[in-house]
Subunit: 326 residues, 2 copies
DNA sequence: ATGAAAGCGCTAACAG
DNA sequence: CTGTTAGCGCTTTCAT
């Protein structure tokens, strides 16, 4: 493999000079610069990035941690984040943890060792104190999940979103609502708080039911089948937590000839395209994921360039998308 | 930051010894090994990976190149591939190109510079000769797309899959079929060949129609609306190319009161969960993505460990999932 | 079994 | 403007 030395020799200059032109330094005579440039061109030389990174202690790589990529919400979030990073000239590197603590810690370790210049965490499997401790490894911002940490956290106002959706169902006269979470997490709990808050307004907080681990279409089908089996479910409204789960529920409803929304209303979350084509079309909630992703990288940029950075807790409000499932 | 020197000094040994225990070498006295180990433990020392990688010219990182992650098919493929890599003890690093040549070339450059030990390419934006040239950078295997290259390529037998699906439609008496591709690529063309082959058997190859750039639910809705607008479409069967596109078409069909499959049959591709809940449920094709992903990494392993490696062209056959849309 | 020494390829003072 | 020098943190001969 060709090195900086080779082309230095070839051009009759020192390797510092080559390094200088490589790094766009001033103070290199135009003549030598051209000579070096053409030698590089001619030989097809590429600097050894591993050496450069090692030397500079810097990679411009940003890690994006996500539970998994094959999940409609995280896929779109990760994509927005990647694009925002690329736009800043960083290299986004996606890491999937599958909820595994060790994998997550491995990524944080990379930050400590400067394999990564920063990390954007969309969701963590670690318990709060441990995560708080990891934050000391370097710039770790949180995008999506709402952790109470001493770092910048950008998240959706899930409480308000859930309140809005729930209130919307309640106003159509529904009284016995079921709330689905995918997994327990601060955001999901915030959502649940919003749900309860709406119920409380109508004095219905007593009857609140919740069910966890609902994430896929299949989960929705399963839940719906169980609920609607005897056509005498006590539930008359379901807060599904994701459009996919809601789509599964709607499917089960149709199979069991439960009319939606008359007999049972259903709301989704995320405003994924699937919500347009369910029968009936799904009432859902649209969040400004792209805006949140962009702001997260903007904040990371501030932190990386180091001027006067202070952690912020930012919240995004989305909007209700009313359709015919309510 | 702590280095290997620090703990060498602390233990009163040379840094070579520390390096040896770090790398699990033999020939280190049990006594010193323990001493070093406990010093590492105590100080929380982690070797600087950038330095290690630089020195060893090896990162154990495998790049996975994909057009984008927010796409049901690629998301699931990437996930399978990631898992398979992780199972081998490698670090899967996902790169999205968004069909951009430069981004793709950037990743190949990382291979040349040993930032990556290998690459798994799911789809390329480069023209064949250029891609062929890139293959010389190091181990680049192809998983999914069917390029005629001098490297291992694992792909689905799209031609046979399309033939099966098409034949299936034809056997129900359909005659005027429309074929949708997402983008032109060898695999997609192979699919189209299978489609034509089936038509030819029935002497219907003349009337074959194809349309490109169909990838999302929305694309499907748009296409369906156009086709069904006057309720007098000449098309009586649609080969949709993906379950999402098919779902959009089915939605449009219902809106325009076109009965499926009577008036127009529709087939999907991928057997994504969404295919279960469309109305009617979607006839689709299930491919063994996970198996293909696993074999790809197994082949990469062979190549990386270097014993007697020869490029192979492997093909996976899936199976028809007949449902009520045909 | 272990230490000394020689780099990996590159950058960054420092001294002209 | 440019070359010399001194490493970055680690691995790996090569002696011992």
């Amino acid at each position: 493999m060709r090195t900086i030395n080779d082309i230095a020799r070839q051009c009759g200059v020192s390797k510092s000079t080559v390094s200088r032109v490589l790094n766009g330094h001033p103070y290199v005579s135009e003549q030598k610069r051209q000579k070096v440039l053409s030698a590089i061109e001619e030989t097809g030389f590429t600097p050894n990035n591993l050496a450069v990174q090692f030397r500079k202690r810097k990679t411009s790589a940003i890690g994006i941690i996500t539970p998994q990529v094959d999940h409609p919400y995280f896929a779109s979030l990760v994509q927005s984040l990647s694009n925002a990073c690329a736009a800043k000239g960083w290299k986004p590197v996606i890491f999937q943890t599958f909820g595994d603590k060790k994998r997550e810690l491995d990524v944080f370790a990379k930050l400590k060792q400067r394999e990564l210049d920063g990390i954007i965490l969309t969701s963590s499997a670690l318990e709060a104190p441990l995560l708080a401790h990891c934050l000391e490894n370097g710039p770790i911002l949180i995008c999506n999940e709402k952790y109470e940490m001493d770092t910048t956290v950008c998240s959706l106002d899930e409480e308000s979103a859930a309140y809005t959706l729930t209130m919307h169902m309640l106003q159509t006269g529904k009284k016995r609502l079921l709330f689905c979470l995918d997994q327990t997490s601060p955001s999901q709990e915030a959502r649940y708080r919003g749900f309860l808050k709406a119920l409380a307004v109508k004095n219905l907080a007593e009857g609140a039911k919740r069910i966890e681990a609902m994430v896929t279409i299949e989960d929705g089908i399963r839940l719906g089948s169980e609920l609607f089996r005897n056509n005498q479910s006590l539930i008359d409204g379901i807060f599904a937590g994701s459009d996919f789960v809601a789509a599964g529920i709607l499917h089960a409803a149709k199979q069991h000839q439960i009319s939606v929304p008359e007999k049972c209303a259903v709301t989704g979350f995320d405003n994924h395209p699937i919500s347009r084509i369910t029968d009936p079309p799904l009432t859902t909630y649209d969040n400004e994921i792209a805006a949140m992703a962009q702001e997260t990288t903007a904040q990371l940029d501030l932190q990386l360039t180091g001027h006067s950075y202070v952690p912020k807790h930012l919240l995004w409000k989305g909007y209700l998308v009313p359709r015919n499932s309510t």
